[in-house]
């Protein structure tokens, strides 16, 4: 393994061991909470669409809204400052504190303040800064960085926090329980708040019409931070501005549910500073609060720091819609296993973290963790503002690829069958051009398989391509699906429908049996099937951030299928990640009309079978069972498309007893699990699925899975044979 890959693998291994369990428990809890909480909404999708529309509009009109907000804030008696970058913001905040002779600033949680590192600035000016959010305070005491954008200390167990507090503060009685730790922090921080001169908060949203900021919290520290001292400084990104107070409603309903799975957090502070509430001056403890001085000072510091450039960037703009709820972190299988210390950059972590880091810090910081997004797409439906997070990760990967130009690239460029300029790593090029490898592999099978599996080859592959030697390689079949199909006659007289079975690379070259089974199943249900020679979907290069190559595939695939669509043939796809290309990513590559035609005409194979049965096809033509028990793992992108239930329904109708896994992803994710730097993480993620299929209830069930990667991963996780569900139901198996 190369040194940099070994270093990356070692870092991930260490985080899995030290922080993985704590992160896993919390994030999965949040994620399950989200599924439950959103069910209470009458119209979840409608609310998300509203939230999305408000953000789109706000970012579109941002310069005008900022002008309006400035007028409002100034009319209210506060000041607004737009800081160009972190240094500018820090200077302004420091000067406000110095003007007030502040000795102590108390802060409520704010990722934006982490981004600019304002604590360092204030401390270097001899101003004491105290984080009052309990999680942030733990990290301040421990001198560690957040591992999660909402719950910053989730990587620390209760025991670790107790040790930290007992060592640092030496309380009379050692602290142990969560209750004791919390009450200790409440006391300690309560006193520090009482003596604070300035309160600093973030802002989740700011409304241009009234100058109201919304703070989403649960502890009450933000309330105390804003109400006790007479000077309030709020620090937020410019993208937090929305037009009106009423626009807050969908966000307030979505943010807690999406993030930590809470119906709503304990406190939504809607503050229009300077607020009318009296200050609480503990240095004058015996004067009634209503008689004290209530001359409040308020500064809103809005930070650009790259955001206005992101607004002008057609690909990164969507990032600005992010409300920092953390849903994309919690739903992400990789994040669940390593947390933000691996899956994060300078400040931001998780799926959307890539967009933030690319825009705010630069590509280098984003490149650190961008590969941990496998494009599984589970975050796209979890995101309350419908951000296409995998796409942002793909774009950033593409830009990183293009940024890494080395001297040999002109040579590689001339020799590779893709559309990419130099800079793409050999590893990414290999996986991105998998179709080429598969063609060669089948042509020379089985010799190619023997050669590939030899220890000499595996060592070479590991060193040059970073393909982990512990991972079994796919075995290419000499007779491809297309060869097999071409050598036989059509069996259907008077077909009820006509269809194309799309020969994806894996089905055509490796898992040929599932392709044959699909043909048999469709024909048994009265469908006339053809298997044309069509290029691979482009999923493989897209996963490697090779966007131009993927787009080239898209045009070829559409050209290859257009005539069949004109003939009225349905396009049936076995591999869910390829169907997801047709249904989602192709929207970015094809003309609107072409995209719609292909997408509307394409079906996942079991979805198609379901449709045939619903429309009167005879289920007796398929393989029935007397309650055979199966353990089914759907595919991440298939679930995002809402197509998991169709497989379950077909299997149930044919008499199968189905138990379905509920892990977000198997961990394999195409090429991800093959890469030597990620192999161990891939297996760690897979362990969740393994556990679900080894319970008393599931350990002797027949294992079926829809995705190529999932089947490969299950093969390495379990000792039972695996198959695609269509192999189970096809006649004459």
């Amino acid at each position: 393994m190369s040194k940099s890959r070994e270093a990356k693998a070692a870092k991930i291994r260490q985080l899995i061991e030290t922080e993985g369990d704590a992160v896993n428990t919390s994030t999965r809890g949040f994620n399950e909470g989200r599924y439950e909480a959103v069910q209470s909404l009458d119209d979840y999708e409608g609310l998300k669409a509203d939230a999305r529309a408000i953000k789109e509009d706000a970012i579109e009109r941002l310069p005008d809204l900022l002008d309006q907000l400035r007028e409002t804030i100034e009319a209210n008696g506060g000041t607004m400052y737009i800081a160009e970058d972190a240094a500018d913001a820090n200077r302004y905040v420091r000067e406000v504190c110095e003007d007030n002779d502040a000795e102590r600033v108390v802060k409520s949680k704010s990722m934006t303040s982490e981004e600019i590192e304002v604590n360092d600035e204030l401390q270097s000016a001899d101003i004491d800064v105290v984080e009052t959010d309990l999680g942030e305070w733990v990290l301040q005491v421990a001198d560690e960085a957040p591992s999660h954008i909402v719950a910053p200390a989730i990587h620390k167990s209760r025991e670790a926090i107790a040790d930290l507090f007992n060592e640092t503060f030496e309380p009379e009685e050692p602290l142990e329980t969560a209750e004791e730790l919390t009450m200790f922090a409440r006391e300690h921080l309560g006193e520090l708040i009482e003596g604070a001169d300035v309160g600093m908060t973030g802002a989740n949203f700011i409304t241009a019409d009234t100058g109201t900021m919304a703070l989403v919290t649960s502890e009450g520290n933000a309330r105390k931070t804003a109400v006790v001292p007479d000077t309030h400084v709020a620090v937020a990104g410019v993208e937090k501005v929305i037009p009106s107070v009423e626009d807050l409603q969908p966000f307030i309903e979505l943010i807690g549910k999406s993030g930590t799975g809470q119906n709503i957090t304990s406190y939504i502070s809607l503050l229009t500073p300077p607020v009318e509430s009296p200050t609480v001056d503990f240095s004058d403890p015996d004067t009634p609060i209503t008689e004290g001085e209530t001359d409040r000072e308020f500064h809103l510091v809005l930070i650009d720091n790259g955001r206005l450039a992101m607004r002008d960037d057609d690909q990164l703009r969507e990032t600005l819609y992010c409300i920092r709820c953390s849903a994309c972190s919690n739903v992400c299988a990789n994040f669940q296993h390593v947390g933000g210390h691996a899956f994060g950059g300078e400040t931001y972590s998780g799926g959307i973290g890539t967009g933030w880091e690319a825009g705010v810090e630069g590509l280098d910081s984003a490149a650190e963790f961008n590969d941990l997004c496998t494009g599984c797409s589970r975050c796209t439906t979890a995101c309350p503002v419908n951000i296409d997070i995998p796409w942002i990760n793909t774009v950033v990967r593409d830009r990183v690829n293009h940024g890494e130009v080395s001297e040999v690239d002109w040579l590689v460029e001339g020799l590779t069958p893709d559309e990419e300029p130099g800079g793409v790593s050999l590893q990414k090029r290999f996986f991105g051009n998998f179709e080429t490898a598969a063609k060669v592999g089948s042509a020379f099978a089985p010799v190619s398989n023997w050669v590939a599996q030899s220890s000499v080859s595996r060592n070479l592959m590991e060193r040059t391509l970073g393909i982990d030697a512990r991972r079994e390689l796919p075995a290419f079949q000499r007779e491809t699906l297309k060869d097999w199909f071409d050598a036989r006659d059509s069996r259907v007289q008077n077909p009820t429908r006509t269809a194309v079975l799309y020969p994806d690379v894996y089905t055509n070259h490796v898992q040929v049996e599932r392709g044959k089974a699909a043909v048999r199943a469709l024909e048994a249900l009265g469908v006339d099937v053809v298997v044309p020679d069509v290029r691979s979907s482009g999923r493989a290069p897209l996963s490697q951030g090779m966007i131009a190559t993927a787009e080239d595939h898209a045009h070829d695939v559409y050209a290859g299928l257009a005539e069949y669509i004109d003939e009225g043939r349905d396009i049936v796809v076995i591999e869910p990640s390829d169907l997801a290309m047709f249904d989602s990513e192709y929207e970015k590559f094809l003309s609107e009309k072409s995209f719609e035609r292909l997408s509307e005409q394409s079906f996942e194979v079991m979805e198609y079978v379901y449709g045939l049965l619903e429309n009167g096809a005879d289920a007796d033509a398929l393989a029935q069972t007397q309650s055979e028990k199966v353990a089914y793992h759907s595919h991440c992108q298939q679930r995002t498309l809402g197509l998991e239930g169709h497989t379950e329904a077909v299997l149930a109708e044919l008499g199968y007893d189905v138990a379905t896994s509920d892990v977000e992803c198997c961990g394999m994710a195409g090429s991800f699990g093959y890469k030597s730097e990620y192999y161990e993480l891939s297996m760690d993620v897979g362990s969740d699925l393994k556990r679900q299929f080894q319970t008393d209830e599931t350990h002797d069930r027949t294992v079926v899975a829809s995705g190529t990667s999932c089947l490969e991963q299950l093969d390495s996780l379990l000792r039972r044979p695996t198959q695609h569900p269509v192999e189970l139901i096809a006649p004459g198996r």
């Binding site: 009234t210 009450g220 309903e253 304990s266 809607l270 009318e276």
Partner: protein
């Protein structure tokens, strides 16, 4: 507002493990005596003909806030779907009084319960544009899970009790 809304509000409070009492204005003192420990601070209630008993300190100092076991306030509205009370920021100190004690007692009129968040924001919008422009949507007690398990009372009240005045 229908009886359905009140029932929904009560269901939400039940889910939040927040206690509530229905009472009449004349019985309020007795109810407060039952739920509040001494010392109790408060702000005068904004409802006609409804007064706080004299043992509630309605002119608290910072020291009183620090020592308070309970804080009694009125609220703008309550939101049935969520079990939330909307505490308005007022010059007489509703915000700190509702925040510092171990228990927040929120007193509201039955007619102030709105059904859902959309209705709540309609009210918030009108209030804010008319100048009453700060409020806390408070739902259950202060809470944190940052110390390894859910604990009530991180910085704010450890408990909430809602008193619903029948009309």
């Amino acid at each position: 507002m229908s009886t359905g809304t009140v029932a929904t509000f009560e269901d939400s409070l039940e889910r939040l493990e927040v206690g509530w009492t229905h009472t009449s204005p004349s019985e309020l003192s007795a109810v407060l005596r039952e739920v509040c420990a001494d010392p109790t601070v408060g702000v005068e209630l904004p409802y006609d003909g409804v007064e706080l008993p004299s043992w509630v300190n309605t002119d608290p100092t910072p020291a009183d806030l620090r020592a308070a076991k309970a804080g009694v306030t009125g609220v703008g509205i309550a939101i049935a779907d969520y079990g939330s009370v909307v505490v308005q920021g007022t010059p007489d100190g509703t915000e700190p009084v509702s925040l510092f004690g171990d228990l927040h007692v929120a007193v509201l009129r039955e007619s102030d319960i709105v059904s859902d968040m959309a209705d709540a924001f309609e009210w918030v919008g009108e209030e804010f544009r008319s100048g009453h422009d700060s409020a806390i949507i408070a739902t259950g007690p202060s809470a944190t899970a940052d110390m390894g398990a859910l604990v009530k009372g991180a910085h704010g009240p450890k408990d909430v009790h809602v008193v619903i005045l029948d009309e």
